[in-house]
């Protein structure tokens, strides 16, 4: 059976920064069969081991630059070494790790959610709330399409 993984990440104490985390948490609560979901603060190397068991993975993240509108899954390629002092990896780096360490990597996409409010606050701005709504619909459609009727 094919395995689908959604990894949502961000800092939930910094407003919209946590939108990826919130999306993953919401998906997790749905407990869909055939979907492995994890909501994390940041991407760390051991996630590569989990990814190596998946066929497809979507990374969900907040983004403050220009984001493609409407929201869309963008294909990801392995690559991009981690920045110098960061304790976190990029999705591309995790893909590379998965390949290098475990000999396989899932097909991967990222879903970037526009975020504006990075204040010290728990909860999403109106813009990120609306974007989360769009993202949930998109991800559920993706799962239905890829994993059969979940």
């Amino acid at each position: 059976m094919s395995q689908h993984l959604v990894i949502g990440y961000g800092n939930t104490l910094r407003g919209d920064d946590g939108v990826g985390w919130h999306i993953a948490a919401a998906l997790e609560a749905l407990a869909l069969p055939q979907l492995d979901v994890t909501a994390v603060h940041q991407l760390t190397p051991e996630l590569a081991a989990r990814m190596a068991n998946a066929d497809q993975v979507v990374f969900v993240d907040a983004h403050h630059g220009t984001v493609r509108q409407p929201l869309a899954l963008e294909p990801l390629q392995a690559g991009a070494p981690p920045p110098p002092f960061s304790h976190q990896l990029s999705p591309q780096a995790l893909l590379q790790l998965s390949q290098q360490l475990y000999g396989r990597q899932p097909q991967a996409w990222q879903l970037l959610i526009p975020a504006q409010a990075w204040a010290y606050r728990h909860g999403l701005s109106a813009g990120a709330t609306a974007a989360m709504d769009e993202a949930m619909a998109l991800l559920l459609a993706w799962i239905r399409r890829e994993a059969g009727h979940a």
Partner: protein, 484 residues
């Protein structure tokens, strides 16, 4: 030099702190030599907003969310501060369990630092292409090492989940103790993971020691080797300590000649003992020992400090390694590069102490929580986080609602030492007044000795490239490099 460039001064304001860059500035003096180098760090502030007006019982769950790398450290510091607000001594079994969790946290955090972040620094040469001097280059050179590091992280994570559960570990340690005891079955499961973890730790140690013996001599001298004070917890008998509690011998401050500046200091006295300097160029505060002033009173915390401060570790294999470390670097090791070795020795110490704890029948005892009301209105709690001593300081109203919070974090306490380290490196390797790759590689590696943690900012900031600026004596920007 590039006199024609029109430099743009980047100031760190709250916006660029989030969307800007991690930054290093290297300041030249009139003769073209390096005057100072500074690492500009983001700091978690504004955090008080989540806490003010909340019941102090929520602080563990709130503060554990600050950091994705060491949530357990905040969890324990918050719970210990909560114990003191209640005014209780927690059940001995609860202390055992908290210790066990902290040991697991130290192990997995050190594993990330050594096996994934830092090992490229010593396994791949300094002059190698920066696009190769990273985790991927490491894996290409030594895939087993990176996989072993992941196994060690998974082991530590497994222990934390066995204790706190997958979902709720954010609130497992509570004021008065812990939420749930450890079942014999889970104890045995943890125990079963130890042999592999020991093997990985030993492997890291022998690899690193061999490199130290053969090729890393210069790093020992140049990467932040200077006398300074060291601060951290010690055990009652002067042994290595990471939690405090019943075994605590208080906080010890030691000079590099081995003399004690303070010993048996209680955390409650810390705020009188320390002062925090504020520098216009950094959001991070610089704690120092008040009586000695900002220069002489600056100190280092973390793995190397803990090993320097203790008289012994208290477990066989780690103590052997400690002896070797002291043969290599002296009774008080001043070479910051040996923070890496200290991390490996601490992993070994953690595993040995976990083994001891698991063998103690008390570890599965079921009375793990003391209950009480609000009995103190101000309390300071301390624990040793992977990066060093962590203080939580709370003020609560008569009913236990948080009025004020202050956190003193390890990365802040090592701030002065990081700057001294990169200054030393920049002085040594700056050639012809230019930023060379070989020098920048080393400057970065100098900071990594301290494993500073920026993950309590937004992850967007954590993903930022590093900006290195060379500044002339008159303040003009001479050269700028973007890395990562």
């Amino acid at each position: 030099m590039h006199p024609e460039s029109t430099p743009r001064r980047i100031t760190i304001d709250p916006v660029t702190r989030i969307e800007g860059h991690a930054k290093i500035t290297i300041q030249l003096d009139g003769s073209g030599a390096v005057a100072t180098a500074r690492f500009h760090v983001t700091e978690y502030r504004g955090f008080e907003r989540f806490c003010e007006g909340r019941p102090f019982t929520e602080m563990a769950a709130i503060t554990a969310r600050i950091c994705g790398i060491c949530p357990v450290s905040h969890l324990l510091a918050a719970a210990k501060t909560g114990d003191k607000i209640l005014g209780v001594a927690i059940p001995p079994a609860a202390e055992h369990l908290r210790r066990l969790m902290n040991l697991a946290q130290l192990t997995q955090s050190h594993a990330l630092s050594f096996f994934h972040l830092s090992s490229p620094d010593f396994l791949l040469g300094w002059n190698s292409d920066p696009t190769q001097r990273n985790l991927f280059g490491l894996i290409a050179a030594n895939p087993d090492l990176a996989r072993a590091g992941i196994r060690l992280r998974q082991f530590g994570q497994g222990v934390i989940e066995a204790l706190g559960g997958r979902k709720i570990h954010a609130a497992w340690a509570v004021p008065g103790g812990v939420r749930s005891p450890l079942s014999p079955a889970l104890r045995d499961q943890i125990r079963a993971g130890l042999p592999e973890a020991f093997t990985i730790a030993e492997r890291g140690l022998s690899l690193f020691k061999q490199l130290l013996d053969t090729q890393l001599q210069e790093e020992l001298e140049v990467f932040g080797n200077f006398p300074s004070l060291f601060l951290g917890l010690v055990g009652k008998d002067g042994s290595w300590e990471h939690y405090g509690g019943r075994r605590s011998g208080g906080i010890r401050v030691m000079a590099s000649d081995g003399s004690l500046v303070a010993d048996g200091l209680q955390e409650d006295d810390v705020e009188q003992f320390l002062a925090e300097a504020v520098e216009p160029w950094s959001y991070l505060k610089f704690p120092y020992i008040q009586a000695l002033g900002p220069q002489a009173g600056s100190y280092r915390v973390g793995p190397l400090a803990r090993l320097n401060l203790c008289d012994c570790i208290g477990s066989e294999r780690a103590d052997q390694e400690l002896q070797e470390l002291r043969q290599r670097g002296g009774r008080v090791v001043t070479a910051s590069f040996l923070y890496h070795l200290a991390r490996l020795i601490e992993i070994l110490a953690c595993l040995e102490q976990m083994e001891q704890l698991l063998d103690d029948p008390l570890i599965t005892a079921t009375h793990v929580r003391a209950r009480a009301g609000v009995n103190c209105h101000e309390a300071m709690g301390v624990s040793e986080a992977p990066r060093g001593t962590l203080f939580h300081h709370y003020w609560v109203d008569a009913n236990g609602l948080i009025a004020k919070v202050n956190l003193i974090i390890a990365t802040g306490q090592n701030n002065s030492a990081m700057n001294r380290t990169i200054t030393q490196i920049a002085r040594h390797y700056l050639a012809d007044g230019n930023l060379s790759e070989a020098m920048l590689n080393r400057v970065e590696a100098g900071i990594r000795c301290f494993d500073p943690c920026l993950s309590c900012s937004t992850h967007a900031a954590g993903q930022m490239p590093l900006l290195v600026q060379l500044i002339g004596p008159d303040g003009t920007l001479l050269e700028e490099r973007r890395r990562g």
